[in-house]
Symmetry: D2
Subunit: 306 residues, 4 copies
């Protein structure tokens, strides 16, 4: 029932520098709830409108960035199927062995761009989920930036044409938008398994395994404004926004959390369908595609990753 | 690539009384574009943000209501597959023979609730679609209520438990929310093939084939306000709203177009996933579920259909 | 510097039944801050965006309603001037003797409609005001319904034509909108001292001294939605809304606080100017004027007062 | 009745280069209505929500910028009173002799900053005003950026301390916010006659008579987004935004119209009162004050004027 391949990106583990200060951001400014801690001190968090055990893990270390992203599938059979297809595609798959409370079997592998992917089916419901019996729309007022859920990520690395092919062939995703260089090579791709205009995106980049940003979903343009006010009051470092992407049509603001991982708080975007024609961007129009109002790419956006 | 069964409800044909006045509503107030007319004088329309040839057809006759709803699938093989599954489910399927410009083969059948369903794969792109090459977000400013696309319908008829089962078993849809009577019978079901909280919904009702409303998608709560202002200025008959449904969490306003078909202009709603727990409503909480702020069902909402 | 007569309605004292439950509403749902208590146990409150000591007082007694409304003027000379003009107009003025911490001299009198008015100049700044040195837009996130300030009140009582004349002649206010009966008598008047479309309003009513509602200002239509969500979740009794008034063009929701005083949370409205033509409503169009989308007055709105 | 001194800035005359192209912007993108032309070919415009004959005049010449700004007062007596006070203040006043259809007597003079001011009382109502008898909120849907009215201007020139004193002493305005240099000199002042946080503002600048921007009022943050979309689609040159000013708390976007005059489309802002404490900015915090989210002034903002 539902989607062909993966359901969605459901879990991300981030490396952070100052755990207390960064956790304070994710909890009290972004508005996530702390779910608990792993035996080795990683912090599990989730957004108020998510059902699963947790969706974000913070691991304290000496370099910011991404440990892994994990995609949920809708059956144990699908999990095994994707494992086999991944191996056939050419990636070496093993079973994840780190402590991830609430989660069952996870397969782990590294794709061509240097990013670690995981896939899983089995995860417990969180203790604090949205109501399901005659439900209210929330049980306590959303806090801070009012992030509703983990939405997507943008990954920078080499060989994204292969990564895109992987997402299509193995994850059965589709690609609502792409950006090509003048010689016809893929510069960027926005990829999704559902109606969301992207579950993840790739930009071609020489260094492997880089994280450009993690996107959290807000409900409205007014919530983007509220996020911006929180950025100002908490003296977070703004990258750009509030603005609109012509790509995805999302409304967005980018900034860095205290450890230097770029965060996007994002809303809107069109309703994507796999039968709609793919939108295609020329590299020299990427400024318009990314920052619709100025039409110009700011240098930090293409240069700073974690 | 994409969704298991149907992609979405992609076409609806409505019966209208005063074609000129009703067409004026759909074009100049709701904001659809007229695509053309069939040989027998039916009017084809589409929303500015849709790609396919047309999504709404108005047929002049002496009683308002619904001729049929048609669902798009993503391959010719899927079309034949759904045809066979539908026949196996017990509905007699034939090929549609009416003039529907831009559309290829369509299968047609009547489900237990008395509603005519169609399924199709083949449809041309409209001449006036959203841009796909370095696209702007629109090419001319959205008009009137700024409806972006056909979103869903609510159908009233007998035997909805079977209809729900049909949508799950044949269309491979899932059911994010249901409402049950005290004796455990289905009173209503909200059903979807994607992330939208509903593509269609059913309410148990003694008379077959009734249309409660057609829902068009707006971008924001502010656009719901704009729709309300247009209702007031054009002296359309309001049913209820602006309000929120707790069911789907949608923000909505209901009113009647000049022929007496109820229209919903709708936005927001949660991001649905098939692995999330089903939300369950008790019949005595339906007031809260439908009209969250007052908690009370207005009589017209359950009594007036076309 | 500034306005001719009164600056604004700056203080209101309400009678409440269940002080704890009602206070919980004003603090935790409406979002006011408790400033302190008077010697006789009345509770002082203010909105986060107000500068003066307090703007709302709750007095526990056995009947809900309005004790008084008080208007601020911009100089001691103006205060004495208005006192004299009020006496000349025909109302007996005395000095207020109740304990009102933070406030200096207040004159008190009852106007023809049976409402107690007060005027004052001298009031201390609150301890917790908006910042004024390189200010942020707030110091802690607005809470609950996020009421920014006391905005206006609607008073029901007999002889409103005289009350309107009083506001114009003594308070030097103007009257952006009126509603007249077919025989040309004043049914309602919206009156202001500034750019706000109303600081107060009157509706002709046989019983004296009645309060229809107190209006608190919200920032946006989205905040009206947020207020509505809080009404639903906290099971407050809704009167009507979210809706628009054609009169003032305000966006609004009405409900009752736990003691039975009607509250309006309100935003938008046009920018009023005294040189703009007065808007005039016929009594039979009052439905459109009050509830623009349905065009119909709900009975409770004209019948229930406190 | 109403305000002490001036009512508001009611008329502005701008110099433009390419009249046709610039007029197309003001009419079809900003959304003003063309009222007519003067004998010498200047074009008169007004916003849909304004009552007076016109509020914007475009004069074709070879340099962009400001011809004059004109303030309305509420009586002929006030006009003569302000004329005398202006002369006493030290500015030479004459009667305006240019063709300004719909307007009666206007006094004209140049203030210390090199800007031409005018004052007037007598102006006809426009033919196409907002309705006043059982009014709808508009008679035709607002167009393009949906500017509702002329709001304010920011003037750059030398000697702004005197200009501020003029506005206080003669126009009886007040000054909700100021920005001072470390040596205590005025760098900028925001000045108003009403509840709006500014009717005009000054920034100290060596060259006289310069226009930084003209501000038009939009209804909401969503309309700021709509304005931004129009900027993108019409390839207007963006300066900055959408953003928030901490000063005034306005939500804003700045861009240049085709002749090079900077336009602000603006909404929100606090409700100003003359008795509220003045907000004071240090020059080194001006970045935060102007562009709250980044906290940094972009160079063009302080350098480019017309």
């Amino acid at each position: 029932m539902g989607f062909h391949g993966t359901l969605r990106p459901g879990l991300i583990q981030l490396r952070v520098l100052d755990l207390d200060k960064t956790l304070d951001f994710y909890k009290n400014i972004l508005g996530l709830d702390e779910v608990g801690r792993t035996n080795d001190g990683r912090v599990m968090l989730k957004a108020y409108d998510e059902f699963d055990h947790h969706s974000v893990v913070l691991r304290k270390t000496n370099e910011a960035g991404l440990d892994f992203v994990a995609f949920k599938v809708d059956s144990p059979e699908k999990l095994e199927d994707l494992k086999q297809k991944t191996e056939k595609f050419g990636y070496k798959v093993s079973e994840a062995s780190d402590d991830q409370p609430g989660f069952g079997k996870r397969y782990v592998y590294t794709i061509c761009t240097g990013h670690q992917f995981q896939i899983y089916y089995d995860v417990e419901l969180a203790k604090k989920t949205p109501q399901i019996k005659n439900p209210d729309i929330w049980t306590e007022p959303p806090r801070g930036m009012r992030a509703t859920r983990l939405d997507h990520f943008l990954l920078f690395g080499p060989g994204i044409a292969e990564a895109e092919r992987y997402c299509k062939e193995v994850f059965d995703m589709y690609v609502p938008e792409v950006c090509n260089t003048p010689d016809g090579k893929r510069l960027a791709a926005w990829i999704t398994s559902s109606n969301k205009p992207h579950d993840l995106a790739f930009v071609e980049y020489p260094k492997p395994g880089k994280l450009h940003h993690v996107g959290f979903y807000l409900q409205t343009w007014e919530d983007v404004l509220n996020a911006a006010d929180h950025i100002a009051i908490n003296k977070l470092k703004l990258d750009i926004g509030p603005t609109r992407h012509a790509i995805t049509r999302g409304l967005s603001i980018y900034f860095w959390e205290p450890s230097g991982n770029r965060i996007e708080t994002y809303c809107a975007g069109y309703t994507a369908y796999p039968d709609n024609p793919q939108r295609v961007w020329d590299a020299d129009q990427l400024g318009k595609g990314l920052f619709y109002f100025s039409g110009e790419v700011i240098p930090s956006f293409l240069e700073v990753v974690s």
